[in-house]
Symmetry: C3
């Protein structure tokens, strides 16, 4: 069954670490071994996996994205958030992660994030999963 | 079994909504609950999920992508479509979607698109799927 | 069970074709029909699928990425590799591929690559898989 988590952002552009919420969900659904699929259904948000230890990494990522794809440009879309749609499409609205022995598998520095490009808002994130066999 | 759908584009750069074709496929294969995996095997195309209601959103996305990554540059590849390969790689050649109760799950404004960056062409899109249990 | 392959890079920015290693893994685990999930747990690397026949395509892709997102910029992160984190996040750290009749399914020109943006290093790539039924 599809599950979901919620995230509330406080700025227009923001990066929220959702790893702990996902790990709690893995425990709640008792997913021991399998694939976790994470999907944001909002068109000005993205899901990404990158460095989760030093917040200056995402500070730099969001600065440079906005430098190359600024808010104001010769856009046609009347809502004034075309830059947010483009940034969201470039980063992607979904990621999968592996689960082993009840734990989300990740690299040393990795974490998984909601990227908000047109906040502040409260956003839902859909999570689905596939159970795999441990021994094969 | 791997299924496929076909899309014909009429311009060099174009955005084609494939949601209805995928929903018909879901009904044809009687996928009630599961994961749909959508994959374009052409290296100058992408699959993306974003705003499907107002076409000015993709007009702006494609304008700005071409502004930042123009067709003509100091490229080495002799076919003259390196910009298309780069745009395709940045947007990604694949997306998954969830299916619940026979319907593709999506946000209010969301749709799924083939992005053509080196058309016009007829393109195949591969679709695979995983059935999950409804009650868990 | 989660498998892995290893790749050693020799330059800061480099593109390594990993298709043959993945195909050997498919044979080793006797995956006849299913989904292969490929995930790099390093935050300055990406996994991408694009043209694998003419190496000038990735030469152009990596040139233009570095032109738009240069190494030196007004970055805050003290390690000096913020450009690598951004490039990795834009390209994505994961891809799925379909397997049919024991073979990885791909387009004529396609291949799958590790993109290294902060090498040279030895990198691990995690691979998971889902077996599907051939006849359905």
């Amino acid at each position: 069954m599809i599950k979901h988590i919620s995230v509330t952002t406080t700025q227009r552009i923001e990066c929220i670490n959702i790893l702990d919420q996902l790990q709690r969900l893995v425990e709640e659904i008792k997913l021991k071994d399998g694939i976790l699929l994470v999907y944001v259904p909002h068109t000005t948000c993205a899901i990404t996996i990158n460095e989760g230890c030093d917040p200056t990494v995402f500070q730099d990522i969001l600065f440079k994205l906005t430098d190359v794809f600024p808010v104001d440009d010769t856009y046609v879309h009347p809502e004034g958030n075309s830059d947010a749609h483009l940034k969201a499409a470039l980063m992607g609205n979904q990621r999968f992660m592996f689960v082993h022995d009840g734990q989300i598998v990740k690299g040393t520095w990795e974490s998984i994030f909601l990227l908000e490009f047109d906040g502040p808002r409260t956003r839902r994130i859909f999570v689905h999963y596939i159970r795999t066999r441990e021994k094969e």
